[in-house]
Symmetry: C2
Amino acid sequence: MAPPERIVVLAGGVGASRFLQGLVRVTDPSAVTVVSNTGDDLDFLGLRVSPDIDIVIYALAGAVNPETGWGLAGDTFHVVEALQRYGYERWFNLGDRDLATALHRTRLLREGHPLHAVVADIARAWGVPCRILPMCDERVETRVATSEGELPFQEYMVRRAAEPRVLAIRFAGIEAARPAPGVLEAIAAADAILLAPSNPFVSIGPILAVPGIRDAIAGAAAVRAAVSPIIAGQAVKGPAAAMLAALGHEVSALGVARLYRGLVDVMVIDEADAHLSPAIEALGMRCAAVPTLMTDDAAKAALARATLEAARQARRP
Amino acid sequence: MAPPERIVVLAGGVGASRFLQGLVRVTDPSAVTVVSNTGDDLDFLGLRVSPDIDIVIYALAGAVNPETGWGLAGDTFHVVEALQRYGYERWFNLGDRDLATALHRTRLLREGHPLHAVVADIARAWGVPCRILPMCDERVETRVATSEGELPFQEYMVRRAAEPRVLAIRFAGIEAARPAPGVLEAIAAADAILLAPSNPFVSIGPILAVPGIRDAIAGAAAVRAAVSPIIAGQAVKGPAAAMLAALGHEVSALGVARLYRGLVDVMVIDEADAHLSPAIEALGMRCAAVPTLMTDDAAKAALARATLEAARQARRP
């Protein structure tokens, strides 16, 4: 029996977590390493919240709120409700059980544990079958320059509902960041590197911006495949389409493919966008058009399977 | 109409909060200053919890859990339940809404606000009609030397259910503590200073140990009255009786009166202990024997009224 494919997935939040739910059903989860965006981490009342990491962990544990795609199923919001008495605006809706995770993470970080060790501990507590790594241990903050001034990502995304016009995106602290221990090793050892169907600017972007990660992926022996988060000119969730437009890119799978040009060997796009395949292949990458809308568990697994298959076919000789 | 009596109450937790619930019904609450013990404050997962202050605030707001005497009525425990996944022992049962108070307090303290300002903010948020002051802004930790070694107060009291034998009690950090702003002024201006029916060692004791407070009370123009927390040789709640015994004192209202000798003008004891009155008066203080068991709102008000009346009669000419 051949050893399992070693797979690295660059992951943002909800889209990535659904893709990963499918992936662990069609491959050996113990050979999967997730490199998670931490650029939209925030300090909420002194607690360190890592939304993307927690979404992925909760989803892989089968505990995520299936309606929202984030937070814990059945969670309550008694703490954030009670905080309103003290004058807090309730813009970031952290559930009570989710807050326990943040308390635990904050405590471990204050005790001096690096983030990757904290993430490993939380993933273990939830019985997550694959390895979850933060992109880096250092604090990096995705900041969105908008028509209303520069906002931390969650303030732009949640408090302002992604309404302000986006002018630019930067990752504060990225120069001092280093790939978390294990990230470069996983990339070097991978058979396939997958860019999950996440926002290319604020989910995949920060990961690639950590000094060393983009170069490692560009130089990796692995085949690299990206799944477009844009279907028929729309983002399934979140501000990816608005950001593509605002930042001067075509709002389509082709626009996404251009962002990943030179980095990936194959682009997986939705069958609805099959007409874009020639233009995408003209960028010097293969293109596979398959159903990408992850409407249920079967669709998630089918997308993961199709992505792995497209990667295998694109594998360089 | 005479101006309201200015009353200062030295307060611990549950017993004090019940006494205060009665007091605000029989006097002008705006003329009442509560000086609260902070010796059993704890850092719980990086959150500063002030059990005695919160008990008093919640009780005066009518929001305290009436069954336990601490915490908020109807509160849930989803955060502490969820923390068990991460290996935390659930020994300190902080409710979700109660945790919101701790988050707010911790945040304000980290921002550099002194504790007395934080307490004022929380009391205002709850609409508490009297003034609540911590005994000091500095961190003081009541530590209990026991047969199992020295324990922080809450670990002795809650985690170990007050079971280890008490050898000694000390207040770590007390030398550096100063009466919180307003404490000495309230004592100097008071018409009556009341020691609530709280544990003399770990509730009233830390307050009196803050350098300057005992002397201010001893030298105050106000009449000073203490209510015994011991009835018929038993503490109504908590380890006061066990501590009296362990530390070599008589387990009775007389034993308590001896601890307050030279400091108070009148001791309020339960009618069941009326036979102790001569011995207590022989200590150089008056003694009033009245019903002290605060079984309901009427009993709380009656005890407060009887205490004020005893204080008035003991007022020095």
